[in-house]
């Protein structure tokens, strides 16, 4: 065969030539033929028996109903949140007892099991490690840096983050496995269409409630690069599991100080959470709209969404994928960034310049901006330190307050991250001059600030673009500063 002697370049030229001749219907015909063949095989092997409305159709009629669809969706998500928030309390307290708290698991046992645990369990790992370090005669700064800095920060992140994630992600995967999630995208599509985004963004947003980093990764399901970027940038407006505890803590403080107890007092906390989440969703749509009309202008891309049949969930697989692929993956990243943050926190509290810790200087530096935003230098510094992991915001604030003002009658150690009950927290905060306005501005800032370090890293990984990473990082924080300044000063004007 003489053809075998063709040079590679000649073959390429020949391909070029042939491609010009290929009919433009070629692809259509090819795909059509494949499907026709598949159809013939199906015809000869598969028999469709029943004809009446199936179980699937009835369920679909209910879940995607133009009127019932939305309330049902809200109800299902509210249930998931409620289960996550209340269900995470017990394991969270358990982990905190095991890893951090003075007295180990004894107080957890008394509160949740109503019995006194054996004395062997009355030391937390933190205390045991302290004993070990002291026994080894390690220098004070090393013990401080490793235990009070790195270990405490990591342990805090684990005990706050792991239980909600271990509950939320399996529930989310369950909804996914049932086939309900695509129906949410279908229900919510008009909102996304009006704001110039893709309907599948609803899924990535739902994922963002669990963890923004996971939500950003989930944006891969959106085909069009433009709409994918919108989804990535706005994912941060979903309150993630790391920020939920902060919102709940402030909600509890508000309930404890503003309401006069009873049923109303209890619902203040819940209402706070719902209000912050709804505001986040509204802002997400607003930013979608703004982005798709300015920097990310363009047409909506093809929207095709498969609505798979409802399936019986495979429980074991769900637990495996959600725990291994999502929970542990996200937790590993969070721990990686929390460890260096622990070092920074310890240094800020313990490094001194002419007798005063560095933290005090930084707080004074940030105080003017903090006042303008209706917050304080303490809160801003806590946010700067907590960029790697948002979970540590509240403990950092407490640590800084204690550092600045002594112990205030509460039995707290200076220079360490600590956890206190709601009553103590409220007392501590309001003694620092916090008011209702500070709480509101703080909640706004919890919603609107830069994504955590893990998320920023993930955005960089997903976009490989400095520009979009910077926009996704700076846009929310700029919005947060502006909105806080406006709210704080209008509030001051009227009171």
């Amino acid at each position: 065969m003489s053809k075998s002697k063709l040079q590679p370049s000649e073959i390429l030229d020949q391909i070029d030539e042939l491609r010009q001749e290929v009919d433009e219907h070629f692809r259509d015909e090819l795909v059509g033929e494949i499907y026709a063949q598949a159809h013939r095989v199906t015809q000869s092997t598969v028999k469709v028996l029943s004809k009446g409305p199936t179980w699937d159709q009835k369920l679909d009629w209910l879940l995607t109903h133009p009127i019932w669809g939305w309330p049902l969706m809200v109800l299902i998500f509210a249930t998931v949140f409620w289960l996550t928030v209340t269900g995470a309390n017990i394991p969270s307290a358990f982990l905190a007892g095991l890893l951090i708290e003075e007295g180990g698991l004894s107080s957890w046992g008394r509160e949740y099991l109503n019995l006194d645990l054996p004395a062997g369990l009355s030391h937390s790992l933190y205390e045991l490690l302290h004993m070990l370090f002291n026994g080894l005669h390690s220098p004070g700064w090393l013990t401080g840096l490793l235990l009070d800095g790195v270990y405490l920060c990591v342990a805090w992140v684990v005990s706050v983050m792991l239980p909600p994630m271990a509950i939320f992600f399996p529930l989310f995967t369950l909804l996914e496995d049932l086939g309900y999630l695509p129906r949410i995208a279908f229900n919510m599509d008009p909102m996304f269409k009006v704001t110039g985004a893709h309907g599948k963004q609803a899924l990535t947003m739902a994922m963002g409630f669990g963890c923004n980093a996971a939500g950003v990764i989930a944006c891969r399901i959106i085909d069009s690069p433009r709409e994918k970027l919108i989804a990535i940038i706005t994912n941060n407006f979903m309150i993630c599991n790391g920020r939920f505890p902060t919102v709940i803590a402030i909600g509890a403080v508000l309930a404890a100080t503003q309401a006069k107890g009873g049923f109303l007092g209890g619902s203040v906390a819940a209402f706070t959470v719902i209000a912050v989440v709804s505001l986040g969703v509204l802002l997400m749509f607003a930013v979608n709209y703004a982005l798709s009309r300015t920097v990310l202008r363009g047409q909506s891309s093809t929207f095709t969404l498969e609505l798979p049949p409802y399936r019986k969930p495979a429980i074991l697989r769900i637990i495996y994928t959600s725990l291994i692929d999502r929970t542990l993956f996200v937790l590993a990243r969070a721990v990686t960034v929390a460890a260096p943050a622990g070092v920074v926190i310890w240094l800020v509290a313990n490094l001194s310049i002419s007798g005063e810790p560095v933290g005090i200087y930084l707080v004074h530096l940030l105080n003017p901006l903090g006042w303008l935003m209706g917050l304080s230098g303490v809160i801003l510094l806590a946010y700067i330190i907590a960029i790697p992991a948002n979970e540590i915001v509240v403990p950092t604030i407490i640590m800084l307050i204690v550092l600045l003002s002594g112990t205030h009658g509460l039995e707290l150690e200076t220079g360490k991250m600590v956890e206190t009950g709601t009553e103590n927290l409220a007392k501590l905060l309001f003694a620092q001059g916090w008011t209702l306005q500070t709480c509101v501005c703080f909640l706004l800032f919890v919603l609107l600030h830069n994504p955590c370090g893990t998320t920023i890293w993930t955005i960089w990984k997903e976009t490989h673009s400095l520009k979009w990473t910077a926009l996704a990082t700076l846009l929310p924080v700029a919005m947060g500063i502006t909105i806080c300044i406006i709210v704080a000063n209008i509030w001051r004007l009227f009171s």
């Binding site: 491609r19 433009e24 995607t64 229900n187 269409k193 093809t302 929207f303």
Partner: protein, 358 residues
């Protein structure tokens, strides 16, 4: 009085020097940036002149210096400078008063054309930008793309043969050749025509054409014409357009099956009411690239039965049952799928027969 002033200055001197240095550095950066921009602009002008020479040649006009200057809107002295640079780069040579492309020049021109059309293809099919917005961006980007990047882009796009305007994308080695085309304004009635090119300027005209589904690849048929306007059908829907607008549409005879000629009664999928069933006749020719591939891959091939199952809140999307699968499509996608509604016919019978239709 003088001495305290000196002392004061000395105090401030460090600050003054720093401020001046910063300002100077800033100013220098501005100047350098400006110079860079100007250099860039000059290079782009060279490319534009080259492209113009190639196009004029294709349209059988004589590319003289004065004609070039007139079209590019340059003063004669500036135009001469541009020609000088072109001659220096040996992209053109002068024959009498005509500018002719050298081999290098032709290669550069093909590269630019290829870059322009591939970038437009990417912007429309990949980034989802509307057709009327891509021309300017491609004009900016075509100057800065290397041959390697272009090969990569071509591969990424799956070696497209035509850009979204319907113009052929030359391969790296092809020559520029004119293609036989007719204007829609002079096209015969009742003869199916395939749109091969749509002028991208003026943008308002292009937008108007896009709204009527007149894009490269769409197949239309003029049903009636008079002095001012012509009546035509595309994708089973009738529209009118003024004769002046028809001048910016180039067509070729359509060698199509009757199903696609627009003469058969077809409806867009959006006409299908919930509960009704239809069979797909074809996908509109205006649906191209990634969107078309996606619809085909989902099994929306000609002859397939499709049933509208339910619409969502706000009616932005509808769920259709196709091959025992539920697939939701937005109105925009559904409009590009052409169907025939099946009224009270035994569907089982059709299901059996449908594999012969393809």
């Amino acid at each position: 009085m003088f001495i305290p002033f000196l002392a004061y200055l000395e105090n401030q001197a460090l600050w003054l020097v720093t401020a001046c240095a910063l300002l100077t550095a800033f100013w220098l950066m501005l100047v350098l940036w400006g110079l860079g921009r100007r250099q860039q602009h000059r290079l782009e002008q060279l490319d534009d002149a080259l492209k113009l020479i190639a196009t004029l040649k294709l349209e059988c006009h004589l590319p003289t210096i004065s004609r070039l200057g007139g079209i590019m809107g340059l003063m004669p002295t500036r135009m001469l400078q541009v020609v000088d640079r072109l001659l220096q780069k040996q992209w053109v040579h002068l024959q009498d008063d005509q500018l002719l492309l050298t081999n290098d020049g032709r290669q550069r021109a093909v590269h630019l054309l290829r870059a322009h059309r591939l970038i437009e293809t990417q912007l429309v099919y990949d980034a989802g930008l509307p057709l009327d917005q891509v021309h300017r961006q491609a004009d900016r980007q075509e100057h800065h793309i290397t041959e390697e990047q272009l090969t990569e882009l071509n591969e990424h796009l799956g070696f497209p043969a035509f850009d979204p305007h319907g113009d052929p994308i030359p391969s790296a080695s092809t020559m520029l050749e004119p293609d036989q085309m007719w204007s829609l304004a002079t096209w015969e009635t009742n003869t199916p025509a395939k749109v091969t090119h749509v002028e991208d300027e003026p943008p308002a005209a292009l937008r108007k054409l896009l709204r009527m589904n007149v894009t490269p690849g769409s197949i239309l048929c003029i049903t009636h014409r008079d002095e001012q306007e012509l009546l035509f059908e595309v994708d089973g829907q009738a529209h009118t357009m003024p004769n002046t607008l028809a001048l910016s549409v180039q067509v070729q005879p359509a060698l199509v099956k009757p199903a696609e000629s627009g003469l058969q009664v077809v409806q867009p999928l959006t006409d299908l009411q919930v509960g009704q069933t239809g069979h797909i006749v074809t996908l509109s020719r205006s649906c191209q690239g990634f969107g078309r591939r996606r619809l085909l891959d989902l099994g929306l091939t000609p002859g397939t039965l499709i049933t509208a199952e339910y619409v969502n809140f706000g009616h932005s999307a509808t769920a259709y049952k196709i091959r025992q699968t539920l697939i939701a499509l937005r109105q925009e996608q559904a409009r590009q799928i052409l169907i025939q509604v099946i009224h009270s016919i035994d569907l089982d019978q059709l299901e059996v027969n449908s594999n012969h239709v393809t």
